[in-house]
């Protein structure tokens, strides 16, 4: 075996070991490195009451409600599966906060199962669509969402 081939084999073996180690580390991290809990994860394995965590999912259409005090908003966050966590938030909503859109809430789980949010971050999806060309259905949905949230802003 030529020295060149020996080096090639050595480097390839080292790379395989490295990629394997990296994948194992990423796999082990997969829960810790997540930025937020999905609603189904929060229900299956709830964090301690009062512990600072994040909840991420979709704002369920038709659930955004303004409370009587004028600054508290309640809504339901749904996940990929049929699961929902009620959220309560008092503060200014981000521009992209809309029913049917993604949201990440920072806060803690209350004893009654409601998520008390201190901060809301809007999550953008992977779709980029110009205003003029969006589907009529989506357009109507966004319009509706805008109208139903008008009082909140």
């Amino acid at each position: 075996m030529k020295a060149k081939h020996q080096r090639l084999v050595l480097v390839v073996l080292a790379l395989i070991a490295l990629v394997g180690a990296g994948l194992l580390a990423a796999y082990a991290l997969r829960n810790q490195a997540s930025y937020f809990y999905l609603p189904e994860q929060m229900q299956a394995d709830p964090p301690q009451v009062g512990q600072a965590v994040r909840l991420g999912g979709m704002v369920a259409p038709g659930t955004v409600e303004m409370q009587a005090d004028g600054i508290t908003v309640t809504f339901t966050v749904t996940g990929r599966e049929d699961s929902a966590v009620p959220v309560r938030f008092a503060g200014i909503l981000p521009d992209l906060f809309q029913e049917g859109s993604g949201v990440v809430a920072e806060g803690r789980l209350a004893a009654d199962g409601t998520f008390e949010a201190d901060k809301l971050l809007a999550k953008h999806d992977e779709n980029y669509v110009p205003r003029e060309l969006q589907d009529m259905d989506e357009h109507q949905a966004a319009e509706m969402a805008r109208e139903t949230t008008i009082g909140i802003e």
Partner: protein, 240 residues
């Protein structure tokens, strides 16, 4: 391939290819950015801020592409011992770092109006920041190796090890829940409407041409630097 590993032939080729890449890259990028900044309608949700995509995405890809180039060149250097491969790896480091930093800065500016925050420690943002740190470490290591006359194998090994971060950046939005959205452009399909996609692809081509031109320019500068070092060392030996 062995023909171009000859530094003399490489310098002759790079001599005319460098300005060609830089000038054509400048014009393509300028045209793509003009197109993207002025001729494209606003996005349905983000409005005008969507235009940051025409800088953010090309710089992100090239930031990752730069380290991929470092890793491949380092592999070639370690196995085949082409001295030019080590130079190529070092040439890709500075433009790679600059593009990564531009990606981080534009992403932060984009995140403020879109997500409501300048920065979050989610998987994608954190792994991209790690890439910037890896670039800085690599540049320092390669420079130190040259100055101290140590083998270029040490930075090459570091370049290979650091490549593990590239698939992690790519998969970070799939493996972990993250604030950053999942990939819009995957094999064969795109969730980006054609109106945005066409200028985006042109911007990617333009930025890539500039990247290539800067890499060649850096390689020429590094070769000249090494030659000057060698000459100085020879003079010092003769003087003794």
């Amino acid at each position: 391939m062995h023909g171009f590993a000859n530094p003399k032939r490489f310098l002759a080729l790079a001599g005319w290819l460098t300005p060609l890449l830089l000038v054509s890259g400048f014009f393509v990028t300028a045209a793509a950015l003009y197109w993207g900044f002025t001729q494209v309608p606003p996005d349905r949700l983000m409005g005008e801020t969507v235009r940051i995509i025409f800088i953010h995405v090309p710089t992100a890809w090239l930031g990752m592409g730069g380290w991929t180039a470092i890793a491949i060149s380092s592999l070639v250097f370690l196995v085949w011992r082409h001295p030019l491969a080590a130079i190529a790896a070092r040439g890709a480091a500075v433009p790679g770092l600059v593009f990564t930093l531009v990606c981080l800065a534009t992403g932060s500016i984009w995140g403020r109006p879109t997500w409501g925050t300048w920065w979050v420690w989610d998987g994608r943002l954190t792994s991209m920041l790690v890439l910037a740190f890896l670039y800085i470490a690599y540049i320092a290591l390669a420079q130190a190796a040259q100055r101290e006359g140590v083998s270029a194998r040490i930075p090459a090994i570091f370049g290979l090890i650091g490549a593990i971060n590239i698939p992690i950046i790519n998969r970070s939005v799939v493996w972990w829940n993250s604030l950053h959205q999942p990939p819009s452009i995957t094999m064969g399909k795109s969730a980006i409407d054609g109106v945005f996609l066409a200028p985006l692809l042109f911007a990617v081509i333009g930025f890539s041409l500039i990247f290539g031109g800067v890499v060649l320019a850096r390689m020429r500068a590094l070769l000249a630097d090494i030659q000057a070092d060698a000459r100085l060392r020879r003079r010092a030996m003769e003087a003794d």
